[in-house]
């Protein structure tokens, strides 16, 4: 039996900014606890305030350092910040441990900062299914900004972009970085580009390459957002003001003409669709659970005996789960 959870009390405490309540709610999400649906229902009226900023980029470009510097900058403005660090390569998750993310410890004692790392539990090369739900917890808990940081491994950039209001793509100086960016398809998803470690050799070339490629990107119409390219040395806090200004500008642009809402509606539609498909799949799975003598088994037997074909049998199966 699952432990009983007082969801209304937990949500009330989280909204008061109690870190333990926030942590407990995220754990319920991660564990797909039976109370998950009640949690989501209780959070629903309290979301939509936070500016969700996704950060992505290859290993070594300084994502954690940049995230930490952004936390400092947002805190200096008095804003509450949530950090969701998603590691698609790690099977470990949950809790307060952020592995070698040493710099994050600067914020470990700050009650205005929630930090949470999540693994992807074998979800193919991308964000955990639980990440959008964890985002809702941090949002409802009163974060003004939620930073979603992920290691850039192919698909995950695109998934970060699908979750975020604003997507930041980080690069570091080095041969072919720009070309790699183009290959990985991140030119399309980035709202703000950051060349971090801009004190290193090759930074100018990387910035120039990136600007050229962005200006060549023919998919933009007048009125579309034009991504900016910022230079930072996150470890020393250099360039952070400009980066913050770029993020604010994008947030402002989103606020015009209902763009933010349209983006979020698209995102919610994806999420609702994924949950619905999973639910339907589970219904079919339930039909199978009885093993021999089950409805699906009987249908399959008729296919094998030539009494029906797989498509007609699938129609019957669909009818069985939908009526």
């Amino acid at each position: 039996m699952a432990r009983t959870v007082d969801v209304p009390a937990l949500v009330a405490q989280a909204r008061e900014g109690r870190p333990r309540a926030v942590a407990r709610l995220v754990s319920l999400v991660e564990d797909a606890h039976p109370a998950l649906r009640e949690v989501m229902a209780a959070l629903a009226p309290h979301g939509g305030r936070a500016h969700v900023i996704g950060l992505t980029g290859s290993p070594g470009v300084g994502k954690s350092t940049t995230t930490s510097a952004l936390v400092t900058a947002f805190r200096a403005r008095g804003q509450r910040v949530g950090v969701l660090a998603v590691d698609p390569s790690s099977p470990f998750s949950g809790g307060a441990l952020l592995g070698d993310r040493i710099r994050m410890q600067d914020h470990a004692l700050d009650p205005g900062v929630y930090i949470r790392s999540m693994a992807t539990r074998g979800h193919l090369g991308g964000l955990s299914w639980a990440a959008p739900q964890a985002l809702r917890v941090l949002d409802a808990a009163g974060c003004d900004v939620v930073l979603v940081e992920t290691v850039g491994v192919g698909q995950s950039e695109v998934e970060v972009a699908a979750m975020a209001d604003t997507t930041v793509v980080l690069l570091a100086p080095g041969m072919g970085d720009g070309i790699q960016a183009a290959k990985a398809g991140i030119l399309e998803v980035g709202d703000v580009f950051v060349v971090n470690k801009a004190d290193r050799d090759g930074a100018d070339a990387t910035v120039r390459d990136l600007r050229t490629m962005l200006s060549l990107d023919g998919g933009r119409a007048p009125g579309d957002w034009r991504p900016s390219v910022e230079r930072t040395v996150a470890s020393r806090g250099e360039g952070l003001d400009d980066l913050l200004a770029a993020l604010d500008k994008h947030r402002e642009w989103l606020g015009e003409d209902g763009r933010l809402r349209a983006r979020r509606v698209r995102r919610a539609a994806d999420e609702v669709e994924a949950i619905a498909v999973t639910a339907l799949r589970e219904r079919i799975g339930d039909l199978r659970a009885g093993e021999r003598g089950s409805a699906l088994e009987a249908l399959a037997g008729r296919v094998v005996d030539g009494g029906t074909d797989p498509y007609a049998a699938a129609d019957e199966l669909v009818a069985a789960v939908t009526t």
Copy 2:
């Protein structure tokens, strides 16, 4: 508009052994032609006769050569043979071309042999969704044996095993082959193991390693099939009689105690389930097609506005497609 197809006539011709009719039916399957369902319904009463033999193994072990040698051997017995060559790495498919499968040309003019290559059309690392349906065509066309040959790339071995009555795993002498087999999980799926190129150095060691690992495999109960290890030099036809005997023996074992039927029912259940899930997913997709103002969009809007949560919205979506 799709071209009208006279399905009953095609199926009748295919059952008379007319190669063009067989080829046309497989093409309809591959193209997911609107007549696909009618084709499947027409084939249903005529299936279940063929012994489906899957062949898998790493590139270079001699799969095509072995397949060709088996075709010769089955033809010498007067049996009709179908060959389905599935190449998960190739985006090309269909038609009579088998690329560099030169040896297959030995059989190109034999009316008792149908050869067909299929690609996987981007299906993740495995067999085409169309392969089981193509199998039904060859089966209904009166093939006594259907050989399904696939390049062994991870997942595909397991998928071949899921399609086949008898799964043949091929290896060639070489350091670590046995260990690779164990790693790839093919010890579990193989009913008959073949060490091909058995005239080469190291063949004895490979056979010995394989036998040892198979005897250590603790998952078998008394009465379970005990996989045999055969040695062949397929290019010279050596060892083919023993391999054929092993295949016959497995087919015979399957025929006892309803094993064959149980295997095929499990296979059909997987197939029916996959078709049903796809159909349900398409229904949800249809709901989305209307873009703005569509049902899903409206639901997503309520999620964004805090009027409902994603799970409750998904319930509504499921209800919308199931009633």
